[in-house]
């Protein structure tokens, strides 16, 4: 912007290209809408195709089973979603929590070890949730107080959790059975798995918290534009910390469900990390503004769950399933970035 000297002539045409406003194309609205509609259509298409192909697919029992089976990955992905909301969607510098899967592994090991040592469900639950929150706290301290990139900080914490899990379990599976675990891994009298109730309840609580409160709105502001949030007088660091605590807590809750599902703790929980990341990223396309939302993540969790389930029912090799999942995620994320690039 050039300096004008204030004479009439300057005002008339000094720096004559400087003051114009860009024409914002209305097309942009369209792209956003198309992508969202498109994603929903994919969801419906997958659903319809499997319903036609397999008589077992569109049955009440099958659907509630898939929902229940999606609980562990889904709740981890909710945690990741809240961190992405508060830290921004930039994959490298933005919010990310790669420690979630090993947080779950450690929590599950703690749960199983405590039960094995004679403690009851109440103590084990408290300890597992405490482990989850502690992991979240360590993440938050490394990122907010020390200023390490979330990507690096949470990878380090992931390794710490993985190591602690090995120390605790000596790399063996621990089988346990308690009244609570049995209840969680079972179904109610309508045949609905209890895990399905849990994921719906956790999703509902998080949707209300993040989408329908001032806290949620502020968390989005912090993640989407930190300077704007600061200018709005928000304590941005506190909000970032809170998002990692939510994530840690989700890790703890998922750990309990995981223990119930497997009747104990086993190694190899780390393999869940990439599906969780993919699920959370995929969730963006279900939001009208291409933002991370809990609702969107729930939909993408279910989409991936139904996809795997449908292929199983059709006896397609599981090798194909992960390939097709990958392709789907790649294309959807590519579409999102294209629309986002157009926006900037």
């Amino acid at each position: 912007m050039s300096v004008s000297y204030g004479t009439a002539a300057v005002e008339q045409h000094g720096s004559f290209a400087s003051r114009t406003m860009p024409a914002r194309p209305a097309r942009r609205f369209l792209h956003r809408g198309l992508l969202r509609t498109g994603s929903l259509l994919v969801f419906i298409a997958v659903f319809t195709a499997f319903s036609l192909a397999s008589p077992l697919f569109l049955t009440f029992a099958n659907i509630v089973t898939v929902i229940g089976q999606s609980a562990v990955v889904g709740i981890l992905a909710f945690g990741l979603t809240s961190v992405i909301i508060g830290g921004g969607a930039d994959v490298v510098r933005g919010g990310i929590d790669l420690s979630l899967a090993s947080n779950l592994g450690l929590g599950s090991a703690v749960y199983a070890s405590l039960v094995q040592a004679g403690y009851g469900d109440a103590a084990a639950i408290a300890a597992t949730l405490a482990v989850g929150l502690s992991v979240g706290t360590v993440n938050a301290i490394s990122i907010v107080s020390i200023g390490i990139l979330p990507l690096l900080a949470t990878v380090a914490v992931m390794n710490i959790c993985g190591g602690l899990e090995l120390v605790l379990t000596q790399n063996t599976a621990i089988s346990v059975s308690t009244p609570l675990l049995d209840l969680l891994s079972g179904t109610d009298r309508f045949g609905i798995p209890f895990l399905a109730y849990v994921i719906v309840a956790v999703a509902a609580i998080l949707i209300v918290t993040l989408q329908y409160t001032a806290y949620g709105l502020r968390l989005y502001a912090v993640g989407e534009h930190r300077e704007a949030a600061r200018a709005a007088g928000l304590p941005v660091q506190a909000y970032v910390v809170s998002s990692y605590l939510i994530s840690g807590l989700c890790g703890g809750i998922a750990a309990i469900l995981y223990t119930a599902l497997l009747s104990g703790s086993t190694t190899g929980s780390g393999e869940m990390l990439l599906p969780v990341v993919a699920t959370a990223l995929l969730g963006n396309v279900f939001s009208g503004r291409l933002l991370p939302t809990i609702g969107g993540t729930l939909l993408s969790t279910l989409l991936i769950g139904f996809l795997a389930n449908g292929f199983q029912l059709l006896h397609v090799s599981s090798y194909w399933v992960s390939g097709i999942q990958g392709l789907l995620i790649l294309s959807v994320v590519a579409a999102t970035s294209l629309v986002r690039r157009r926006r900037s």
Binding site: Y5, T7, H13, S18, P22
Partner: protein, 529 residues
């Protein structure tokens, strides 16, 4: 938090009183005893070059920086520990140049985030209610109707600015600080904003108004304080003081000195192009740049001027015509070929992206021309340093030294470093694309002086610019492009700025100044603010 009353009860204390503020940033003194007194209910202008200390002063007022010395009083009460929160509680609010709004938020969300209770206190957030409230406030206050589902990112810059003003007003401020609010607005929008600010004054608000545009200062301010080198050099009444006097106070130098133009003897041509074209961008362009000559090139967006410039440096390949350098026909297909032919190109760089902020001034300057001070591929530090120190002095770069990181410099000085980097190469022909965009008067003067020296040393210079004052000030000739054709070749000794403007907008030929002016600089904005 001590609050001590200083003014006698009978007299209204100033709304804002900053007294002898000092602030150092790692060796650079940003504020050197600057004072500012703003009367209640007035609009007070604040002007100064980039680096004069305006932004530091404002950041101190916002509680973002702590001054090293001095005192701040708001409504007569001393504030010895100002934090952003405290400033807000005192009713001081800021409208920043960069529109600090979340682009993916709806207008309602952007307006109320952080102050959600103002939209009606309910435990849960009702987005529809936020939006309805926002819509009604904008209509009431600014007669502005926005599409209901528009996100901030969909709005024009001016609409965003109004959302930002509205946001500040919601908090019931007593002092509003505008930090270059019009930087990206068109004239009509500026008028609306200035009218809004006058209305706010009527409502009793105190306003601090920072702008590069002295005409705006003249239009609305009751008083204006001029900052220079971290000091307040004068506070004057803009109605009684001419804009050029204010500009002179800002740079401590007569404005006419800004353009040290030397007449050029007709010398041998360096660059001769004939019939050059790359349809549809431009066609049939012929002109000559001579040794020691500064030639301006201008045109609207889409005139082909930019593409022509890029063709001369091998960034685009012309499909017609010929280029002669020093009388010999050359084919310039790549930037490398251009450089081998002694052509230097300074690309447009409004925001200093081509600067490595963490590296030192010296490293930035010599980055593009290390070969000049290398022997056997090893850099000779001593020669490199001497060269950089010379450029720092020639361009008047204000820095603690060649080893200071570039990020410690003010914006204008960073720009000079970027320029120095490209000017390090000894070339026959310098091609510059908007070299002074985003640069303040003082830095401009330094850049113009350097260009004059280069020309005096026998180089030819071709400048693409949309700043007519600059073109008529420093160029010997100005070439005007319109819709892909070279339609004018004006000698600045005889032609007026108006004639050049008319040619560039097509008014001279077709009498269509209006629509042409409207398409002006549609590409400009993406670089501004």
């Amino acid at each position: 938090m001590t609050a001590q009353v200083i003014a006698p009860a009978t007299q209204v204390p100033p709304a804002l009183s900053l007294q002898a503020l000092y602030k150092d940033f790692g060796g650079t003194r940003a504020l050197d005893g600057a004072s500012l007194e703003v009367a209640k209910g007035s609009i007070h202008g604040l002007v100064g070059q980039n680096g004069a200390g305006k932004s530091t002063l404002i950041k101190i007022l916002a509680g973002l920086h702590r001054p090293d010395g001095g005192a701040i009083a708001v409504d007569g009460a001393f504030q010895d520990h100002l934090t952003p929160h405290r400033a807000e509680n005192l009713g001081i609010h800021f409208i920043h140049q960069e529109r600090l709004l979340v682009p993916s938020f709806s207008v309602g969300e952007a307006l109320f985030v952080g102050q959600e209770s103002l939209a009606g206190s309910t435990r849960l957030l009702n987005r529809r209610k936020l939006q309805a409230k926002a819509t009604s406030i904008l209509r009431e206050r600014f007669d502005l109707a926005l599409p209901a589902d528009a996100l901030i990112g969909d709005l024009t810059v001016a609409q965003q600015q109004i959302v930002q003003v509205t946001r500040a007003l919601l908090a019931n401020p007593s002092i509003l600080v505008f930090d270059e609010p019009t930087a990206a607005l068109v004239k009509r929008e500026v008028d609306v904003l200035l009218e809004t600010i006058r209305r706010l004054r009527q409502q009793g608000l105190t306003i601090v108004y920072i702008s590069h545009y002295l005409s705006e200062i003249e239009a609305i301010c009751d008083r204006v304080t001029v900052l220079r080198n971290g000091k307040d050099v004068a506070t004057v009444d803009p109605q009684a003081t001419s804009a050029s006097e204010i500009a002179a106070l800002m740079i401590a130098r007569d404005v006419t000195e800004l353009f040290p133009k030397q007449a050029v003897q007709s010398a041998e041509p360096i660059l001769q192009i004939s019939g050059l074209g790359r349809p549809p961008a431009f066609a049939d362009v012929s002109f000559t740049v001579r040794r020691g000559e500064i030639v301006g090139l201008t045109g609207l967006l889409g005139s082909g001027a930019k593409e022509l410039l890029r063709s001369l440096f091998g960034l685009e390949k012309p499909s017609q015509g010929s280029i002669e350098i020093d009388g010999a026909a050359r084919s310039i297909g790549t930037p490398r070929a251009a450089m081998e032919n002694g052509i230097a190109f300074v690309p447009e760089d409004r925001r200093g992206q081509r600067i490595a902020a963490e590296l030192s001034v010296r490293e930035n300057i010599s980055l593009a021309s290390l070969r000049l001070f290398s022997r056997f591929n090893l850099v000779q530090r001593k020669r490199e340093r001497a060269h950089c120190d010379r450029l720092i002095e020639r361009l008047g770069i204000r820095t603690a030294g060649g080893e200071a990181p570039v990020k410690s410099l003010s914006g204008g000085n960073q720009q000079k470093v970027a320029l120095a980097k490209w000017l390090s190469r000894q070339s026959r022909l310098y091609i510059l694309d908007e070299p002074t965009i985003g640069v303040d008067i003082g830095a401009k003067a330094d850049i113009y002086r350097l260009l004059g020296e280069l020309a005096a040393g026998g180089a030819g210079i071709l400048i693409l610019s949309t700043d007519l004052i600059e073109l008529t000030g420093i160029c010997d000739r100005v070439l005007v492009m319109f819709r892909g054709r070279l339609i004018g070749d004006f000698s600045t000794a005889t032609a007026s700025g108006d004639a050049i403007f008319d040619a560039a907008t097509g008014a001279a030929e077709r009498g269509i100044a209006e629509p042409a002016a409207a398409e002006l600089g549609a590409g400009e904005l993406q670089h501004v603010g």
